[in-house]
Symmetry: C2
Subunit: 338 residues, 2 copies
Amino acid sequence: MTSSVGLERVLEPVGVLPQAAWRLDASPEIKQDEVRVRVERLNLDAASYRQLAEKHGGDGDAIRAEVLEIIGTRGKMHNPVTGSGGMLIGVVDEVGPLSPLGVKPGQRVATLVSLTLTPLRITDALRGWDGRGEQVPAEGTAILFGRSIVGVLPEDLAPELALAVYDVCGAPALTDRVVRQYANPRVAVLGGAGKSGSLALAAARMAGARTVGIVRDEREAASLRGAGVADEVAVADARNPVEVAAAVGEPATITVVCVDVPGCEHGAILATAAGGTVIFFSMATSFPAAALGAEGLAADVTMLIGNGFVPGHAAFAVDLLRRVPAIRSLFEARLARD
Amino acid sequence: MTSSVGLERVLEPVGVLPQAAWRLDASPEIKQDEVRVRVERLNLDAASYRQLAEKHGGDGDAIRAEVLEIIGTRGKMHNPVTGSGGMLIGVVDEVGPLSPLGVKPGQRVATLVSLTLTPLRITDALRGWDGRGEQVPAEGTAILFGRSIVGVLPEDLAPELALAVYDVCGAPALTDRVVRQYANPRVAVLGGAGKSGSLALAAARMAGARTVGIVRDEREAASLRGAGVADEVAVADARNPVEVAAAVGEPATITVVCVDVPGCEHGAILATAAGGTVIFFSMATSFPAAALGAEGLAADVTMLIGNGFVPGHAAFAVDLLRRVPAIRSLFEARLARD
């Protein structure tokens, strides 16, 4: 077990798992059960990119310089402020003889584990990126451990589209699983027009739930109405609990939080019926705010930390995209804007 | 709804719930649905007290001064670093005519909502406290909103004992609920010799689970063995994932995290079987570390944010204490040490 989770790549502090490490060994030589990927593109986590963009006032050169510095220092793209990373796509370069991942050299793949635990070396100084947007063209190498998750890119989707879907594919899979635990549930999704939010709505609808999408403005509301996955769409500031509860109306059986800004915990809890479930997918979620918020509101709700891994999650999300063309259009429009 | 959750007590920023607020109005005049309590004792959250003690190198005067400053500035005991608070006991002083809490003036009660959302005013400068320990004798007033949780103190328990039990009573109640969702589960509790940990073990055992308690040293192991609620007891550093997984052995169906230090997420995930559940009760839990850790380990586990409220949780915990005298002794010994 020890080598397959990447313990040998941890430089500092020794003995922790790669995600918890301050610094990894990103050297390109692979061990027996590792895979080396030639990097083509990074997809930064939304919360991470937002933090960097706000810190540098949108100055692309400064954002690029800080991303390079983080990767150079830590051996991985692990934003020390948000604690989040992202994903990457690339081409399989070399496969260790003991790797269980089932990939072959030459295959184009997306890594479905976070960049926060993926040894990464950049060799082109990110010259192809203007620092404006989460999608980062890049050259370099990344390492996958034995115990990892990787998806071969589907041939009917552009790589950028597949990456954007894979990045959030835990959300629809877990939403589907939770919806099926309730009879006739009503599902509210905060941030319903975003990537994880629209897929969560589509999954809930496919599983038979009534759905309400909460979005931040009329432009997003129009976009979500067009996608046809929400029975109702309402506008509210997700950080304002009273506004959120009013927008959701009848308390939701399940509330899914897909808004990447801090302070959405209390609205989600207040909008959820007793006996219901809140699924937190935003990396901006505060554990104490959620735990103490539910207690403070005397709210008997189950609160789930959105796990980025559910078996079959990547194929499930790609299947949703194929079955709901409006969601595919929504993703493509978002990618075109970025 | 708006007044009953205390929105009118929020001074800064306006519009958020009291727990999220920077500053509350702690004035002693009550509104129609509020209750005023004459404070006798605060019980600081363990993570909060630990942070203060470490910051001030155990200097009791400095710790006391900072607690006073936090309460004076924020109108509540809400540690800005840990985000946590604690609880209090006192005597009901005045009950608004519209309060639904069902308490009467003169009753000795414990507040079962966090101090992070309880308007609090201290009038004795905490003169009776030496700053060394989580139990803080205090004079002043606290306010309970309409939607709140309060427990009248049982007559067969010392107030300090009841407060210590109420402080962690969400843990055994939620553990009981989760254990009953599995057939023949094995439950591991990290921090099994502590307050929430020993009650969680007792609840798991009562619900029919096999139990293993993980503790930090031989002294705690001996104490937990004496309590008789763990089928197995093992020593491990909860922050070391490899050590934790080895100590738990056969992967646990349910792992309960009751260790109030950062960095215990990965060990808990690694020690849990596929399809199992991790319940995080420590306020030191990092949301991104848990979410990304599970993904990075390709771990199909359900991760619960420990909710401090489960209906009937206070009575359930007190009942456990009465049925398992060894747990009561363990609590009393811990209180005597503090």
